[in-house]
């Protein structure tokens, strides 16, 4: 059984059909790439999966449970984590704060421990900070030293890493990455691919779905690729098969003109 399965997923915005009848399946430990021109519905797919959009039709089954229309925070607690295209970090908060935010849902101490029985709260915090330090250090050994700095002061590549750490901090079963290489130079993109490898090494059983425009990244990390256009799935298969698919070529390059 797949970790994640969508059947006939449809999302509408007052008349505009953003996703139409999309079937996607992701198995455990799999890395699936999602490609498609701008406006093809890739981010909409992520937003529907994470519960930010309510599907107009179809179903989403995650870890055996139907999650269509479920609140985002409940879906997150089931084990789905994501990053955002325009990195949604809290820039005024520290690096540690941002990573720890991913651990809030799984916390065991509450208000009472914070105010009265502080030893338990402090112990849990120390453990959380240690985990954050470990995660940050995987990607950049200098990051934990900057843990108490405000995230806004970090360079963009480190901010992406912090966002990935926040997602990993939740110990998810499924990680959704939305265009992690957006705005990156080629060197930074190479760094990113190393980071993705680190993620796979650190969490071998983790399933990843990655939206990308950069075909190098997609080719380098995905076992399987799905292509979307105008809200519909137009191709699925290995990277080579998908990029050679006529509908995919048409989506990116336009129709081939027959020479008269």
């Amino acid at each position: 059984m797949s970790l994640l399965e969508t059947r006939g997923l449809t999302v509408r915005f007052e008349g505009l059909v953003a996703l139409a009848d999309v079937d996607v399946a992701v198995g455990e430990g799999e890395t699936v790439g999602v490609i498609g021109p701008n406006g093809s519905g890739k981010t909409t797919l992520f937003n529907a999966l994470t519960g930010l959009y309510r599907p107009a039709g179809g179903d989403i089954v995650f870890r055996g449970t139907s999650v269509a229309g479920v609140e985002p925070h409940l879906i997150a607690r089931l084990g789905m984590a994501r990053t955002f295209q325009s990195s949604r970090l809290c820039l005024q908060l520290s690096v540690f704060d941002n990573v720890l935010a991913g651990m809030i849902a799984a916390r065991r101490t509450g208000v009472l421990e914070a105010v009265v029985w502080r030893d338990r709260a402090r112990a849990e915090m120390r453990e959380a900070l240690a985990r954050a330090t470990h995660l940050l250090g995987l990607f950049n050994p200098d990051l934990p030293a900057r843990g108490w700095e405000r995230v806004g002061r970090l360079p963009q590549i480190d901010r992406r890493r912090v966002e990935i750490c926040r997602a990993l901090a939740a110990a998810p079963a499924l990680l959704l990455l939305d265009e992690p290489s957006a705005g990156m130079s080629p060197e930074e993109t190479r760094e990113l691919m190393k980071d993705l490898q680190i993620v796979r090494d650190e969490r071998p059983g983790l399933s990843i779905v990655i939206i990308e425009h950069d075909m190098f990244v997609i080719e380098g990390v995905s076992a399987r690729v799905i292509a979307l256009n105008y809200g519909r799935k137009i191709a699925e298969g290995s990277f080579a098969a998908v990029v050679a698919h006529p509908l995919v070529r048409e989506a990116y390059l336009g129709q081939e003109r027959t020479h008269a």
């Binding site: 519960g51 970090l89 908060l93 704060d97 916390r107 208000v111």
Partner: protein
């Protein structure tokens, strides 16, 4: 450690001198010294860094020193019952401010009905003690819970709406509260509720002037000590909440609600918690005010006071626990000190807030990075 103690002693002397100095020469001297004390750390980073480090390393000493100073204040002010009262009022604003700050600063919930929730606390005490003959201590403990209950009923339905709608609902509530208090007979109408009994501790009525350590203090010193205790506990509690999972969750949802939801944070739960805890302390401030002053009336809790509470937070520092303390300690006594400016008081309030927001939005004591101590 010497640095910490000397600084605190200096601050104490300046504060007392600033309050009590009457003769022009003494006043000038204090003003100059005070200005220098503020300007030097602000302008010279070395001094600021040294101070920050010293206070950070010797936190226990700093806190004990601060406690000693706060306890010594009524002795220094024993010649002036009026200023003892003002100092107590400042402490009430610390309590209210910490509650409001949790809502506005930490959680980003725009609550402009602070005056109404304080009013609920005050009026509940009045009604319970005068109409129902409850003992004042019990009334003061129950009143904040009433404020919380009303706030929950008011607030839960609008959790999903955007920030400025919440602002509007809270403004509407302040107005409604005022009209209702003015027009219901059982709340005393425009006259309010009079003769609210004062607190007693082991037979000592709080309206009687106490003798502590052999020194005769004005009657208000009783409430000063009680309010100091409450303000301290409130500050400790809000500080611990701020540095906990709850504080982090609130900051995250304040800065980016969508990211917070996708991290698994229950926005509804976090917002309700912040709103309720905040209203508890705001109501507590109002309740203590009622027993301290002995009567409550509608003009005591109108929209203008919501703005004063707001300015304490903005000027002190949004989401800054020490900032709120500083804000209250500056904003309550200063207008009283500059009596000749009394007419211009609100005008200056408004101007200062606008200028602060334009040029120093983080406040006088900006919130530092969370340290999870």
């Amino acid at each position: 450690m010497i640095v910490v103690l000397v600084t605190e002693a200096l601050v104490f002397v300046l504060v007392v001198a600033g309050i009590l100095a009457e003769r022009p020469r003494a006043l000038m001297l204090t003003a100059v010294a005070g200005a220098a004390a503020l300007a030097v750390p602000a302008a010279v980073p070395r001094v600021r860094a040294t101070l920050a480090r010293a206070f950070d390393e010797h936190r226990v000493v700093a806190l004990v020193g601060g406690a000693v100073g706060a306890l010594a204040l009524p002795f220094a002010l024993r010649g002036s019952p009026y200023w003892t009262f003002v100092a107590t009022l400042a402490l009430l604003y610390v309590t209210i401010g910490q509650g409001l700050n949790l809502q506005i600063g930490t959680a980003g919930l725009i609550n402009l009905a602070g005056a109404a929730f304080a009013g609920i606390g005050g009026y509940t005490v009045g009604l319970l003690t005068v109409s129902a003959a409850w003992p004042p201590w019990l009334a003061v403990m129950v009143a904040p819970l009433v404020a919380v209950a009303v706030g929950t009923v008011l607030f839960v339905p609008i959790l999903k709406t955007r920030g400025h709608y919440l602002a509007l609902v809270t403004i509407a509530f302040v107005f409604i509260f005022n009209v209702l208090m003015n027009n219901f007979e059982f709340t005393g109408g425009p006259q309010g509720i009079k003769n609210i009994p004062t607190l007693t501790l082991f037979g000592h009525r709080f309206t009687t002037a106490p003798r502590l350590l052999g020194v005769a203090l004005p009657a208000h010193a009783n409430f000063y000590c009680a309010c100091l205790l409450v303000a301290t506990v409130t500050t400790i509690i809000t500080r611990r909440l701020h540095d906990s999972w709850l504080g982090l969750a609130l900051n995250t949802l304040r800065d980016d609600e969508i990211a917070a939801r996708c991290c698994g944070i229950s926005i509804t739960r976090a917002k309700i918690t912040a709103f309720c805890v905040g209203n508890f302390f705001i109501g507590l401030g109002g309740a203590l005010y009622a027993v301290m002053v002995g009567f409550v009336s509608p003009p005591d809790f109108d929209f203008g006071y919501s703005l004063v509470m707001l300015s304490v937070i903005i000027i002190g520092g949004v989401d800054s626990i020490p900032g709120v303390v500083l804000g209250a300690c500056l904003l309550v006594p200063l207008p009283e000190r500059f009596r000749f400016l009394h007419e211009y008081r609100l005008l200056l309030y408004g101007l200062v807030i606008v200028l602060m927001l334009l040029y120093r939005p983080a406040g006088l004591w900006p919130a530092g990075v969370r340290r999870y101590r």
